[in-house]
């Protein structure tokens, strides 16, 4: 079964455990500036929203790459960057409509979420369930369940 990162901003408290986990998983350091998932704070609205690559089926970054440095991980469906091939041209960063692939000055390559090979560290670290890793075909299941619970709440009238 293909799985997908699922984000529920209403549950996010902005604690940054996801960013710490991402940086440690990928770089062995606690450094949120290296995190591939970012938590945004919309102060006046009182909202925190974690955001990262959603792994488009027809990925703009993959199609735009002139050196074919972005491949699909067959096991997870993640679009992954082959660092050895990447030339750091940044065309993918322009083509991505969501801004979730970014250039890394230190390495001269781009980076993006690779789903940690199928066990995303951010989802494991999230203390509130704002980030989960669920059946890719059913990312809406929890929301459906919540709405389902609101239907048919009248007392039963017939046997």
């Amino acid at each position: 079964m293909q799985k997908s990162l699922h984000i529920d901003p209403n549950k996010c408290t902005g604690c940054m455990q996801c960013e710490l986990a991402c940086s440690y998983e990928n770089y062995g350091v606690f450094n949120i500036s290296k995190s591939r998932i970012k938590v945004f704070n919309f102060e006046a609205a009182g909202r925190k929203v974690p955001y990262t690559c959603t792994q488009c089926a027809e990925a703009w970054c993959l199609h735009a790459c002139p050196v074919e440095a972005i491949k699909i991980d067959a096991a997870t469906g993640a679009k992954i960057v082959l660092e050895a091939t990447c030339v750091g041209c940044k065309v993918c960063t322009i083509s991505c409509p969501f801004g979730t692939i970014n250039y890394v000055h230190d390495t001269g390559k781009v980076q993006k979420c690779d789903l940690c090979g199928g066990d995303p560290a951010c989802a494991t670290a999230c203390p509130t369930g704002a980030i989960t890793y669920v059946d890719a075909d059913w990312t809406g299941l929890e929301k459906m369940r919540q709405w389902a619970g609101k239907t048919d709440t009248q007392p039963r009238t017939s046997a």
Binding site: N10, T13, G14, C15, M16, Q17, L20, A21, S23, Y24, Y27, G28, V29, F30, N31, I32, S33, K34, E43, A44, A45, G46, R47, K48, A125, P127, T128
Partner: protein, 615 residues
């Protein structure tokens, strides 16, 4: 190791900065943050220094767990001599600033001297420079953060700044970071203002590395997070209700100081409680509380994000107060509310916003307003002097006084002195509800006896965060003790004081101790830091820090006489509730406490005690 091993020393007088190695021998003895910062202050300054003179220093210090995934590992403290108290000041703040400082590669920043003109420190990893702050002077903390971020074209910068209160050296000015987190007490913001230092702006992309044993560390932090999640207070109560969960509880046990501690129960408590924050208000049909929020690394998330009714009389013409922002914590809801007999929830929220906006400690501010309202009721202060009719219960007076103080106008200049100096000036020093000139917070020592000893002996003046015996006396953590008796409280206070000093030096938040003991902290430090970190070692470090702070205060001129409560708490019995008829038994507890501490009857650590602790 958890430490970055680097200190930034900023000479404001000469406008220079330099990097130094952290003294690792001291780190071994004082851990970090509160303890280590205090050690540096003690070694480098004269305890008799005028707190607002250039010779005083201001230290921003992180702990070894700051910036790591340890739950709540985002704290930093400001250590200096406090202008409100004249005692050691150490104010702790969450948010994201502390973690950013650590990720920029610094354990501490030591500010010395006084800049000839307003400046802010811009620190990007190892690049530090003092920049002109003429364009920021006169701005609020909210404006300052926005101007710095847009000026640098970097929304990821973290800022700690003073508002107009700090610039004007309001004696209870605080330093605000991330818009609504604050190093709140004792006037550390006034020290910053006295140095012409408007803000510290950070960007850290180095990160925290060199953890002693990553595997052991992450195992320990994961286990400790589970302890927090499984605990009823840290796992459910605090995220849902915040610290405000206490309002109704403390009122019911008759320990909610009301109308300048004339009463111990407030008839309007329900209206300003956590429960009320969840309810839809009549005005716009919305609840005061928008959501909860976490500081960096925190898996508890007790923070309140609130929004007031745009139609509330106090904000109708002020759109800047219409958005969601930091809401009421228990201490602020008490100080702005019960202490003044005000039960207008949105009104309190607005007063709290003003405190955040211009950087004032709401505890001292609110308690000072309470004293003013009592002086007004007695006819000692008049409407003409204050600028507004100020009877107990007036939200209008509260909010007007917030503006006056924040902006340094009119009677606000007198409020800026805090209640001790103000009451003294008007001939009624006994009406200041303070110890060492710092106002006590939201727990009445007549109804929670241990808190009386806590306030009286707190090294930074009256404070709940130095030994939160409420945990034991009210909540039964770690064991339930009777709040109405004095027996056993000396030992309880000492144990809490020592453990708290260790937590405050680690980089984690004291609220973890509703669930954690030193037994939960030790393995996290042991995984992160070089050396061996045991419960016993941490308890000893805590005791060492406590005695170091005590020695500083003694050298600054404090004596046993200053370890006392306002006369009201010792002579006017609680009028209602479970503590009815009781006064504080501070005079019974104090001698026992000194003895347990290994101090003489004058409150001075004996030679044996000092040598045992290596002081």
């Amino acid at each position: 190791m958890g430490w970055a091993r680097k200190i930034l020393r900023v000479d404001l007088t000469n406008g220079t900065t330099k990097s130094e190695q952290l003294n690792m021998e001291w780190a071994e003895q004082y851990l970090g943050q509160r303890g280590l910062g205090t050690k540096y202050l003690v070694e480098e300054t004269d305890p008799k220094v005028d707190p607002l003179a250039p010779e005083n220093k201001m230290i921003m210090a992180t702990g070894p767990l700051t910036g790591t995934p340890a739950a709540t590992g985002g704290r930093y403290s400001i250590i200096t001599k406090g202008p409100l108290t004249g005692a050691i000041a150490c104010s702790n703040s969450g948010g994201h600033f502390g973690a950013e400082m650590k990720m920029a590669g610094w354990d501490m920043i030591i500010f010395e001297g006084k800049s000839p003109k307003p400046v802010y420190l811009w620190l990007e990893n190892d690049k530090a420079e003092l920049r002109d702050a003429a364009h920021l002077w006169g701005k609020t903390t909210w404006e300052t953060e926005e101007i710095i971020k847009s000026g640098h074209q970097d929304p990821q910068i973290r800022v700690a700044s003073i508002g107009r209160a700090g610039e004007n050296q309001v004696l209870f000015a605080c330093v605000v970071n991330d818009l609504h987190r604050a190093a709140g007490r004792s006037g550390v913001g006034a020290v910053m203002g006295s140095k012409n230092l408007k803000a510290v702006a950070l960007r850290g992309t180095v990160g925290v590395s060199g953890i002693k044993d990553y595997k052991a560390f992450l195992k320990a932090t994961t286990a400790a997070k589970k302890v927090l999640a499984d605990n009823a207070v840290t796992g459910q109560g605090l995220p849902k209700f915040g610290t405000q969960v206490l309002m109704n509880v403390i009122n019911e046990i008759g320990a909610l100081p009301t109308r300048n501690a004339q009463d111990v129960q407030f008839e309007g408590a329900r209206n300003i409680s956590a429960e009320a924050m969840h309810e839809k208000r009549p005005g716009d049909g919305k609840a005061n509380l928008i959501t909860n929020a976490a500081c960096f690394g925190c898996t508890i998330a007790c923070g309140r994000i609130s929004q007031v009714d745009k139609g509330h009389w106090s904000v109708q013409n002020s759109p800047k107060y219409w958005g969601a922002t930091g809401g009421l914590e228990y201490e602020a809801a008490w100080s702005l509310g019960a202490a003044n007999g005000v039960d207008d929830l949105d009104g309190l929220t607005v007063a709290n916003m003003i405190c955040n906006e211009d950087g004032m400690d709401p505890i001292t501010f609110g308690a000072t307003v309470g004293a003013i309202m009592e002086l007004y009721t007695m006819g000692v202060l008049t409407k003409e002097q204050i600028g507004i009719e100020s009877p107990f219960g007036s939200a209008q007076a509260l909010i007007e006084m917030s503006h006056l103080t924040a902006e340094g106008r009119g009677f606000g200049k007198e409020i800026a002195l805090g209640s001790a100096r103000l009451c003294e000036k008007y001939g009624h020093p006994e009406l200041s509800m303070s110890v060492k000139k710092q106002e006590f917070p939201a727990y009445d020592p007549r109804g929670i006896q241990g808190m009386g000893l806590t306030y009286a002996t707190s090294n930074r003046g009256a404070c709940h965060l130095r030994s939160y015996t409420v945990a034991s006396e009210v909540l039964g953590i770690p064991i339930k003790t009777d709040p109405l008796v004095t027996e056993g409280k000396a030992g309880l206070v000492k144990a809490f004081q020592d453990a708290t000093a260790a937590f405050d030096s680690s980089g984690t938040c004291i609220f973890t101790t509703f669930a954690w003991t030193l037994g939960d902290l030790a393995p996290q430090l042991d995984g992160a830091c070089e050396g061996e970190w045991t419960i016993e070692k941490l308890a000893e470090i805590g005791e060492r820090i406590w005695n170091l702070e005590r020695q500083y205060n003694n050298a600054a001129g404090f004596t046993a006489k200053d370890d006392d409560l306002p006369p009201r708490l010792k002579t006017e019995p609680a009028k209602t509730g479970p503590a009815m008829g009781l006064v504080s038994g501070i005079d019974k507890m104090r001698p026992e406490y000194y003895e347990l501490r290994g101090w003489d009857t004058g409150g001075v650590p004996t030679a044996d005690t000092l040598s045992r602790l290596g002081l």
